[in-house]
Symmetry: C2
Subunit: 354 residues, 2 copies
């Protein structure tokens, strides 16, 4: 397969962890006879220093011309210390998501067997957990009309959803469930919210076209309990922007370490893949950042294009590294392996099992 | 102290668990020389069968004339099986909260040492956890204007808060923190919501009158992570209706069993105490329901009136019962103790330690 991949290293540890993901993609190209081309563009604080904008026009054009985007991390201490800065690095990412209409955030929740002890949950609770959250990313209360009364004593936020906004992500979630364990759990508060009731109607109607997928509805408060009590019951969770924000962060805590989780932002035309963690500026350039979340974001990229064997080959290599304790200090405090050594090991162990 | 307490047994296991809580209150009266009087009134399905209304006028009058309300549970299978019934037992409870203006839900999260193994979290994570959630109960998005477009394709819910709604619960939360570990954590999404920003301003201003309380703000998604990763960092959590709904249910999962958690609904003029669990109709009259949540709701009642030694005496007796394995089958599957035997033991072991 030929793929044009835009690389957006961004700030902090972004460039060094992204470089390890690219090592793995190059190994996949070689092992499985693909031809990926890479073009790098700037975003975030580094772009602001170069051009004044956190999302230069050139970067946007490059992204639009590519098949997929592999993103590093964004933000620097310089701007973190100044919450009132008018232009902030993170705006580059928000603006990019908006320009590319990336309406769905995808967050897989699965823990490597070697890392079970990192979870705050007991082993018997977490063992076998493997689900993915589809969170609507561009609608709902975060984007609705905000008001503050003239005297400043009454504030409001409007949560609004249209059938169109719901149906496009619902199709993505049903398709994912169809290719996984055929179960879709919609999380809402339909007992009290009109938007939730619209979600239920739209999802139920669309569900008729996916008869092989078992559809269930779960109230958000109960979902937050169930994620702690019995996370292995879930396959695909579909939910709105606010509930998805809370539940996907809660779910990532299941895995104990943030350094291991990837995420994707998907639209109808574009797709972007990135680690869940932040830019960890203090570690920049020190060769200590854990590259696994970034490497797993490349795995999501491969899965997105149906390259599932290739994706699995990387996962097997990551698992091998973890079993051999070839990991950064956040996983194994006595480790002498740095970011690039971990990337080297994983990329060198990507083999075609056929 | 003289107290007039209204008893609302309600449906399902409500009457039998409430009876054990009353046994404990009577033991407290005797041991500590108080004089509580009890008057029983009907609510829920049982009231509907008797009067047609889930909250008879007489019940409301009795509640308004008392110092506190001790509530059982509400709901029966008959109505659970018919989600379209126009009048439902649960409406009795919602209407009562509204009539009495109970704007604050209080949910303590603490686990008995003997029950640590019931938690899905690892022992070292949960050990020492002791916090309480103050959830705003009568405002926010659950009560805001709901709209559905004429063609049914666009729905909305309005989240609105006034300074007055925020400030009355904020004072309750600060007072609680002052009497506990002097830490108040406000949970919101101030990075995206106008209502959250109003909460921050109002709480910050009120905080100036409670200089002994350390005030911190936490985004709701991060809070959901932190409750799993490090629940012992919290003392008092204050939050709005929606976030409180999700986080208090998530927090109750920390304790593993729902049969052990009490809650309170407090206003400026009235206070009601109840177990967190539901009416568990299948167990009704079988003497198998766990009475501890109901007994602990009586503990919250005593604390509410400053009877802290008395409250502690019940907790010590509950702890003794658990240590001696005098508990119902949900806690100890091989137990031969029923609801009333557990209530007898606990009430007979309430002693004045002075
Ligand atoms: Mg979040
Ligand atoms: Mg709830």
């Amino acid at each position: 397969m030929n793929l044009n991949i835009t690389l957006l290293p961004g700030d902090g540890i972004g460039p060094e962890v992204l470089a390890q993901a690219v090592k793995c993609l190059r190994a996949v190209e070689e092992t499985f006879n693909h031809n990926f081309s890479y073009i790098e563009a700037s975003i975030g604080a580094v772009a602001m220093d170069q051009t004044g904008s956190p999302l230069p026009e050139e970067t946007l054009e490059i992204c639009k011309a590519s098949d997929a985007i592999l993103f590093g991390t964004i933000g620097t201490l310089k701007y973190d210390d100044n919450p009132y800065a008018k232009v902030r690095p993170e705006q580059g990412l928000l603006q990019l998501r908006k320009e590319l209409n990336l309406f769905s955030s995808i967050r897989p929740v699965k823990i490597f067997p070697t890392l079970l002890e990192k979870s705050p949950l007991k082993k018997e609770i977490i063992l076998g957990t493997d689900f993915v959250i589809y969170r609507e990313l561009t609608g709902g209360i975060y984007f609705g009309e905000k008001k503050l009364s003239a005297d400043g004593t009454v504030a409001s936020d409007l949560c609004e959803y249209s059938e169109k906004e719901i149906s496009r992500i619902t199709h993505l979630a049903f398709k994912a469930a169809k290719n996984r364990m055929q179960k879709l759990t919609v999380v809402d508060k339909a007992n009290v919210l009109e938007t939730s009731r619209l979600w239920r109607r739209v999802v139920s109607k669309i569900g008729e076209s996916y008869p092989e997928v078992a559809l269930e509805f779960l109230l958000a408060d109960n979902a937050a309990m169930q994620i702690m009590l019995n996370p292995k019951q879930f396959d695909v969770i579909l939910t709105d922007n606010l509930f998805g924000d809370i539940l996907s962060d809660q779910s990532s805590a299941i895995c104990g370490s943030k350094g291991l989780l990837p995420s994707a932002s998907i639209g109808n035309d574009y797709a972007m893949f990135e680690p869940f963690h932040g830019s960890f500026t203090q570690a920049k350039g020190k060769n200590i950042a854990n590259p696994i979340a970034s490497i797993l974001s490349a795995v999501m990229l491969l899965n997105h294009f149906g390259l599932n064997e290739e994706a699995q080959a990387i996962i097997v290599a990551v698992d091998k590294a973890l079993r051999k304790n070839i990991s950064t200090k956040d996983i194994n405090p006595s480790s002498t392996y740095g970011t690039s050594q971990v990337g080297d090991f994983i990329s060198q162990n990507i083999i075609d099992s056929e």
